[in-house]
């Protein structure tokens, strides 16, 4: 299998702060990669490299090369809006738009210039089905998304991201604000989406990392300490720092 994502010597600075130090990593297509590490270790910064959300932060500087499908996404010729269409993102706190369920999913298509109503309707249904939400909301698509429960809102946000047909899905602690049952649903969803998407997931939950991911990367103080198959990393870590973190001795 070819590499979907290649990161070569990535460095991120927030003003004087060196937030991500010399990280290199290859990620295969149709895999789930878990990013773990204590708060402030740079894992969210790393995740946000791929849809260039760091661009929105003032004083943020990125060095190094990040290739998706062999193309440098930080090339000045790259259109950021186009890039964000092919690399979807789900945030920590469910953040549906204060609009109807239907409009939430259709928004990504509309801002990308798609006007064909039938196409949009099909895509909304398909995305909601992919996000395992269709059966719960099919009779109330015109109702406000804010009336949904937290878990439903998060699956709506996943459906919203899927609607623009990305190939990579970035998830920033997608289940940390949810109850165990909703978390389970999200994890099942991640497993099912793997066949069509390359998924990166930031999590503070070790069990979640072992349950959902093929590979795990452990970050500490802005550095990538260890990156390996999830099973190997959790059963037989090479570094003591990884061992200490996954056994809960710190972090």
């Amino acid at each position: 299998m070819s590499q979907k994502i290649e990161v070569k010597n990535a460095n991120v600075y927030y003003g004087m702060e060196h937030a991500l130090i010399n990280v290199s990593m290859n990620i295969k297509a149709n895999t789930v990669t878990a990013l773990i590490g204590p708060s402030g270790c740079g894992k969210s910064t790393f995740l946000r490299l791929f849809n260039r959300m760091n661009d929105l932060i003032e004083n943020c500087r990125v060095e190094g090369q990040i290739l998706v499908d062999g193309q440098d996404i930080y090339n000045p010729k790259v259109n950021v809006n186009e890039l964000r269409k092919s690399i979807g993102m789900v945030f920590q706190k469910p953040n549906p738009f204060p609009k109807s369920i239907y409009e939430n999913v259709a928004y990504g298509l509309k801002v990308n210039g798609i006007k064909d109503k039938r196409l949009i309707e099909e895509k909304v249904e398909q995305s909601l089905k992919q996000a395992a939400l269709w059966d719960e909301v099919k009779d109330k698509l015109k109702k406000s998304a804010l009336a949904l429960s937290g878990g439903q809102q998060q699956r709506l946000c996943i459906a919203r991201a899927l609607a623009v047909s990305p190939s990579v899905l970035l998830m920033d602690e997608p289940a940390s604000a949810l109850d165990p049952i909703s978390t389970m649903k999200i994890e099942e969803l991640i497993f099912n989406l793997k066949s069509s998407y390359t998924i990166l997931i930031v999590t503070h939950n070790m069990q979640q990392a072992t349950r959902t991911s093929d590979k795990t990367a452990f970050f500490y103080m802005g550095e990538l300490v260890e990156y390996d198959d999830t099973r190997t990393l959790f059963t037989n870590p090479k570094f003591e720092r990884t061992q200490n973190y996954i056994t809960g001795r710190f972090g």
Binding site: E58, L83, R84, G88, F91, P98, Y107, V111
Partner: protein, 293 residues
């Protein structure tokens, strides 16, 4: 083990007494405002209510108090409100969007912000002088509705900018982030997400600014709004008067009958202002109900 004494200590009793005194003092302060308003309402209603009839609403100025009415002034007020919002809203809202969404944090934007805040505190009569010189004389628009509404537009511009910025600020960043992450541009994000989510707050600011514009007298007197007018304005270049000026003019007449006219005019002006404030309260209420973060 806690001990409950039947008689609290002197200190405790003093604090409880202090608490009570302050409560009633604050209540009195609240009632003073209401009392004054009630007195004012009673006063103008008793003097002016009998003058308020269709004839009064449908007549123009006259030397005889019983023939005089507020038709010209009401039409003038409507025109002024309409054109003032036409000029002030697009400029004020766009400026607020620029400052809040596009402008970075640097010395220049800081300078802009401080000066807009200063403008909001400039006495309205100064705006009248500015309007007299720039619009009336240099641009030769004379004492027309156009001059009046341009002057008032300048007056309420800083208020609209400040209140719109507050409304935009209240939209959480996560909403913008969600929009950007789907490939939306900055303008699409503002137009489709930020503005609808903040519209209640923006409307509230606009209506409060407009009710201020409707109640202004000084700047319009300075630019030369007429006080005695037999015609109803029907074009933007016509001379005009507005309700506050009409009221002011009647009050300064020596005949007692004009005082009743003034009181009746005040009733109409108050009704319009209460109506606008009511709309503002309603919009804010609806906005808070509809959008929960």
């Amino acid at each position: 083990m806690i001990t409950l004494k039947n008689r609290p200590s002197d200190k405790t009793r003093f604090y409880q007494w202090q608490d009570k005194v302050f409560k009633y003092f604050a209540l009195c302060c609240t009632l003073i405002g209401l009392f004054v308003l009630a007195l004012l309402l009673y006063n103008i209603l008793s003097v002016g209510l009998h003058r308020l009839d269709w004839n009064f609403l449908n007549s123009t100025s006259s030397q005889r108090a019983s023939n005089a009415g507020i038709k010209s002034a009401m039409v003038g007020t409507v025109y002024i409100a309409l054109y003032t919002s036409l000029f002030a809203l697009p400029i004020g809202i766009s400026a607020a969007i620029y400052l809040e969404e596009y402008a970075g944090k640097n010395k220049f934007t800081n300078f802009l912000e401080v000066n807009i805040a200063n403008l909001a505190g400039v006495p309205s009569v100064i705006y009248g002088l500015l309007g007299l010189e720039v619009f009336s004389r240099i641009m030769m628009l004379k004492n027309s509705i156009l001059t009046g509404s341009l002057t008032l537009a300048l007056l309420i511009l800083p208020i609209i900018i400040v209140s719109t910025r507050e409304a935009l600020k209240s939209v959480p960043y996560s909403l913008r982030e969600a929009s950007y992450a789907l490939g939306a541009s900055k303008w699409q994000t503002i137009w489709h997400q930020v503005l609808p989510a903040s519209s209640g707050g923006i409307f509230t600011g606009i209506i409060l600014a407009l009710s201020r514009a409707i109640g202004e007298t000084a700047p319009l007197i300075v630019i030369g709004a007429v006080v005695f007018i037999k015609t109803v304005p029907n074009s933007i270049m016509d001379k005009f008067t507005v309700l506050p000026i009409q009221i002011f003019h009647w009050i300064s007449q020596p005949q007692k009958a004009f005082a009743a006219n003034a009181a009746a005019g005040i009733i109409v002006l108050l009704l319009i202002t209460f109506l606008l404030n009511g709309i503002a309260v309603y919009l804010r209420y609806r906005w808070q109900k509809k959008i929960k973060w």
